[in-house]
Amino acid sequence: MTTLPAENPRQQNAMAAQTRDVVDVAGLTKNFGRFRAIDDLDLRVARGTVHGFLGPNGAGKTTTIRVLLGLYRRDAGRVRVLGHDPATHSSVIDRDLSYVAGEVVLWPSLTGRQALDVLAGLRRSAGGEYDDDRERALIEAFSLDPSKRIRKYSKGNRQKVMLVAAFAARTELLILDEPTSGLDPLMERTFGDCVRQAVADGRTVLLSSHILGEVERLCDAVTIIKDGRLVETGQLAQMRHLAASAISAVVSVDSADRVATELGAALGDNASVSRNPMQGNAVRFDASVPQELVDRVLQLLLAAHPTDVRCTPASLEDLFLQHYRIGAADARPADTQSGGR
């Protein structure tokens, strides 16, 4: 196969975006002194999708994002953003990338309008493109008063300034790090609309968020990391299918002990069952059941003639908490050891 050389970096970006993943990270490792913040991480974000990037506090999400932006240099692994290595071509990448940081800091003496002017002017001077009409529409959609000075803005309003600048820029990729933590529910909805519009325009979004409902609504795929390591990644629908389902059943008090014993036997070491007494001589069992055991658990519950049975696929929150609990359980013995020293 013959590859024709692109005339300029912008064309290279366009070609790269059409031919491969917009973000392609393999075996990324980043150390700060002796502390390993990211350990052999893989991350792939397909073009034209919204990719959720999840993890508890301190998991390494922001560090990963800073490597993607070229703020941090990796210690090992391969990183490509829009087909380029951010360690050597960060300015080429950043021209076609919009970024909203978790803690938005802007120039306090400028007004919101002036800050937007600066962000647009610098992007244009770097060879990027910016849509003024889109900016006006976004200012209205986010109900932003751009005439106020930044120092008078709340956190949410500072985030709005950056979101307006990010969505108004004509970029291939949006990297959004906790972009809605300061927004009210109405503005969160507006943000969701903007993300959907961006994807409809062919752009790609990497969304780091703690608001799992938001990720569930917006994302096609998610990557969950913990302690700098990949925990799970893939299409959200597929992950839900593979994950444990939540089963709830209400049975009579007389059969409750038998049901508890049978559930324990069926689920074995994976047992995550809670038993909650209810009014009217009834007991409700809530269990998180691995996909391969759903059939068997439902059969034994039905045999107890329950008054109510519900089976729901795992939510993103269940997925996240499941990994978080496993991580915490794994860490506990080590904690105890260290603490005993």
Partner: protein, 541 residues
């Protein structure tokens, strides 16, 4: 995973708002007070070693008293001119002005600054009411002002055993007036913070009070209006008159004035809603900002600071120009001072020695401006503002390069303006090439400032936290060039001071090897620093 072992805290330990304010600002407090007290330590013994006998100072005192510029800034020099009187006259003036600026800024930080940063909310969340926070701020300002006064008195008391003419009563009087002046401006800062809706506006209000104070004292000094010294807190030092009249009882009057201002602070704070203010800056604007480069943005953000520095540096240039006539006459008739000046500057001609000295002081100030401008790039990196720029496709090196360009060109224009004004004012005082000498010695410090700029860029380019090292060559050069000859430092060591390499261009001298080395050092360090910043991890907080 490692579990941190924690020592149990002592039960019942209490931390009040005043302690929080003092602890969170301890670096600023030390950064202002220690150099000030350090300077105070060396001034008294320096006078004593240069002018051990009273009759050796007669010519100096006559010359200094007859000059309008010195009279405006320092006031009349008390007779007969003991070491204590000289120290109060010169160092005392610096002491009250610098401590006023310091406590004013601190007062604003303790009041409005705490509300802006959210520290006040944090205290509220820990159960400290608005009244308790206000009491804490008042207490913190008082502790700083009293601490400064005690420090001044302690230094001078310690020296009273070494220098006979430094009396105990004089030391206590100067400590007292330092406390009164510092307390007044600290409280003024708190009051301005209660009235203004931002720290910026509060500082402006505070500095207006300081400027009025300065003008009132200057009028009192030049025209002899004694009553104005009572009205101006900067003139209180003349009323107390340490080492002359030692009127320590007037301190009670000044403390009463401070209590009144404290009462106003209390009244302004009572019932005030969190964050509310009477005076508002223009918070709304439809102005646009069409910038297309980081240099243009940096200039827009920094032009106010550049203008303030330029006005200050030019005023000092005018001051030196105004003093030139009398001081050169003084040097011609005072062999001690002339010898000291020649040793310090390495110049034989007395007018060259004087302008060389003036150039060093102005160069030192402009060097501080350049280093501050460059180090602001490290602050941008820590705050996360650099991320905003990089996310627009700006190259990693551009922010630091823009700061370096601003520092280099800003300092050049500052030195040219100060040199020109110094030269123009000198024309009314001296003839025969002195005006050109005034210009060339001031403007000739630019290679030194460029070298400091380059070293600053190198430090902050290598690592944000290393930025503080940029002050080492500034402080080291200042000590070596001003004190090197007195301390009998080796020649090569004195030559390492960046300010020590300005030839007498007005005499037809050409740039020396030192000048070329400074320019080379500045450019090379600047380039290395900028490239280094482009290659290392950027470290937001």
């Amino acid at each position: 995973m490692r579990v941190m072992s924690s020592r149990p805290r002592p039960a019942g330990r209490r931390i009040g708002p005043a302690r929080v304010a003092l602890r969170t600002h301890r670096r600023q407090i030390l950064a202002w007070t220690l150099p000030l007290l350090g300077l105070l330590v060396i001034v008294g013994p320096s006078y004593a070693s240069t002018y051990p006998q009273l009759n050796q100072r007669t010519h100096l005192i006559d010359s200094l008293s007859g000059n309008v510029a010195t009279r405006l800034l320092y006031g009349p020099l008390p007779r007969p001119g003991t070491i204590g009187q000289l120290l109060t006259w010169e160092m005392g003036t610096y002491l009250v002005i610098v401590s006023s600026v310091f406590t004013l800024l601190l007062g604003v930080r303790f009041g409005r600054g705490a509300e802006e940063s959210g520290a006040a909310e944090l205290l509220q969340a820990c159960g400290h009411s608005a009244a308790a926070r206000l009491r804490g701020a008042l207490a913190a300002v008082t502790v700083v002002a009293v601490g400064l006064g005690v420090g001044v008195a302690a230094v001078l008391l310690a020296e009273s055993g070494l220098v006979e003419e430094l009396t105990v009563r004089g030391a206590l009087s100067l400590g007292l007036v330092t406390t009164c002046t510092g307390l007044f401006f600290g409280l003024a800062g708190l009051l301005a913070g209660a009235l203004a809706d931002s720290t910026g506006l509060a500082r402006v209000l505070g500095f207006v009070v300081l400027a009025i104070s300065f003008v009132l004292r200057a009028v009192a000094n030049v025209h002899g209006v004694v009553a104005l010294r009572w009205v101006s807190p900067l003139g209180w030092i003349d009323v107390v008159s340490p080492y002359t009249r030692n009127r320590w009882w007037t301190g009670a009057v000044f403390l009463a004035a401070c209590v009144s201002v404290g009462g106003l602070v209390w009244l302004a704070g009572q019932g005030r809603e969190y964050g509310s203010a009477v005076l508002h800056e223009r918070a709304v604007s439809d102005d646009r900002l069409r910038v297309r480069s980081v240099v243009a943005l940096t200039w827009h953000l920094e032009r106010g600071r550049w203008l303030a520095w330029t006005v200050g540096v030019v005023a000092i240039g005018a001051f030196f120009g105004g003093m030139s006539g009398n001081l050169v006459t003084l040097l011609e008739g005072d062999s001690n001072t002339a010898r000291l000046m020649r040793e310090m500057t390495g110049e034989h001609r007395l007018d060259a020695a004087f302008f060389s000295f003036a150039g060093v002081l102005i160069g030192l100030l402009v060097g501080c401006y350049a280093v501050l401008t460059v180090l602001a790039s490290g602050t941008e990196e820590g705050d996360g503002l650099l991320e905003d720029l990089l996310a627009c496709g700006v190259r990693r090196r551009e922010s630091l390069s823009a700061r370096a360009v601003l520092a280099a060109l800003g300092s050049l224009t500052m030195l040219l303006a100060a040199g020109a004004v110094c030269s123009l004012v000198t024309l009314s005082q001296l003839h025969g090439g002195a005006a050109g000498r005034g210009f060339s010695y001031v403007a000739g410090q630019w290679p030194a400032v460029l070298a400091l700029t380059g070293l600053g860029v190198l430090c902050v380019g290598a690592r944000r936290s290393l930025g503080v090292l940029a002050w080492v060559p500034v402080a080291g050069s200042a000590v070596l060039v001003l004190m090197g000859s007195v301390l009998h430092a080796p020649r090569w060591l004195q030559a390492s001071a960046v300010f020590a390499h300005v030839p007498d261009y007005a005499d037809g001298s050409v740039p020396s090897t030192g000048v070329v080395a400074l320019l080379g050092c500045g450019v090379v360090c600047l380039l290395i620093g900028v490239v280094w910043r482009g290659r290392r991890d950027l470290m937001p907080e």
